[in-house]
Amino acid sequence: MINTIIQGVLLGGYYALIAAGLSFMFSVMRIINLAHGSLAVLAAYLLLFLAQNYHISPFVGLLIVLPLMAAIGFLLQRLVLDRALRAGPLVPILATFGLSIVIDNVLFEVFGANTRSLGNFIGSLSYSSIALPGKIYVGVLAVGTFALAVVVLGGLQLFLSLTPYGRAIRATAEDPDTAGLVGINARLATAVASAIALFTVGLAGAALGMRGTFDAYAGGSQLLFAFESAVIGGTGSVWGTLIGGIVLALAQSIGATISPLWFLLAGHGVFLAVLFVRIALAGGLRNFIRGAA
């Protein structure tokens, strides 16, 4: 049981890592990015491409892929989301949904249907483990991913609360019109925020590829886990995202000990339970939606 809990918490670190960018984008820009999972898979494929064709280790490859993901985030905001937001709050959801379909199918077209992994390119790291007392073994990669999630979430929190740019992004999120009157370039601030979000998506994609396998259509399930973690943890709270990821993963891991089928079912069950409790606490669906918007 202790083993299950420890493995669950570590898996939660990975969920928190993929949820970080999603909840950052929602809390700061009020955009639900449905292409989030597909973009993480795109990052994983980019690392694979560099490793296969140029023998670049995925860790070194991140030096190329992370800036590239940030650039994609910047352009995504400038070319798609800015315009979509002007048409109404629901249009970015449609736009990013469309984008996810485009990304998935382009990846399928380019890389084919094979299931891939970055595990072959990171030496023994994909299977080496640390022994804990009580004959419990934890994967080095899983511990590293968990630590990375804490660093990313903590870094986002510190960036938002302590740096002038972080303040500008928060101000823009609260009131873009007034942010402009104060001297903030609101369009630039949201584009930078989007670049930061996609930077974390690049890290999540690397973790996805190293810890297991992925294919062109893996984005949907990644999005779902990120989404559930963010909702369980409460959107708009950085540490809540970590808690949310851990709760989701614990539910899955404990569920899986009952039956392998219960891995996903227990996760979805906890997500729905938390959602219904939140709706009830907010005093009904209408208030809940109003509070979230």
């Binding site: 009131d175 104060v182 609101a186």
Partner: protein, 239 residues
């Protein structure tokens, strides 16, 4: 310290015309009070000067430079700062964070958080309080401080005393006295006619989007301004 010049401004809210063919020049270091009834177009005019409202036609120029097509944040950088109606503070952020945001424009000058807190002593104790928890007077002081932090050459005040208690208004004007005499160019929208005429060197009265009366405060009687305010006297049209 700067000259603000508006030429033939037409401003619309959709179908509604808020300001009609308005021209106005504010000289270096001048304090001008803009008065008029609700809906006269004062707020829209200030927002257009600050860059938050795009004119249908006409130009806004600062020191002879046409800024009509510059976005608001670039105008802050050139020295135009607006203290908006209703304060519009970032409620989730602290007083200090709100003030620091004013520095984003990157203009150099004498204003620091410390100096704002000296100017508005009632803010010193609330430095780390969230702006949403402040009293009206404290909020207005923070909004003014935030504008000052950008070291503006032209300050636009929209409805300074709206929603404030008489004591808070008194305290606010007391704090602003030295600022108004320091040579900063100020355009002030104020409901309180007595205060406006006391603080400003010139009064501009707007009615239905047009200037119907203007002149140095010394030469206008309260009655003349009141008549123009309500549209009772249209005989004095600006040259």
């Amino acid at each position: 310290m700067s000259t603000l010049s508006l030429q033939g401004l037409n401003l619309h809210h959709g179908q509604l015309q808020a300001v009609r063919d308005l021209s106005l020049s504010v000289a270096d270091g001048e304090v001008v009070a803009l008065v008029g009834a609700n809906g006269a177009g004062k707020t829209t005019l200030l927002r257009a000067i600050a860059g938050a409202h795009r004119p249908s036609s006409g130009t806004v120029a600062l020191d002879g430079v046409d800024v009509t097509h510059l976005p608001a944040h670039r105008r802050v950088n050139m020295g135009i700062a607006l203290v908006p109606e209703g304060r519009r503070l970032f409620a989730e952020m602290t007083v200090e964070e709100n003030l620091l945001l004013g520095r984003m424009s990157g203009r150099s000058g004498p204003w620091t958080v410390e100096r704002v807190l000296e100017t508005f002593p009632n803010l010193a104790a609330r430095r780390r309080a969230r702006a949403g928890t402040l009293s009206g007077g404290e909020q207005q002081a923070t909004a003014i401080g935030r504008a000052l932090m950008s070291n503006p050459a032209v300050l636009l005040f929209d409805e300074l005393s709206l929603g404030l208690s008489p004591v808070a208004v008194e305290r606010l004007y007391e704090s602003l006295k030295s600022l108004m005499q320091s040579g900063t160019t100020i355009l002030l929208v104020e409901q309180d006619l007595g205060r406006a005429m006391q603080a400003a060197g010139r009064v501009v009265c707007m009615l239905e989007g047009r200037i119907v009366l203007e002149g140095p405060t010394g030469t206008l009687s309260r009655q003349e301004v009141t008549d123009a305010y309500f549209g009772l006297a249209r005989h004095r049209v600006p040259a």
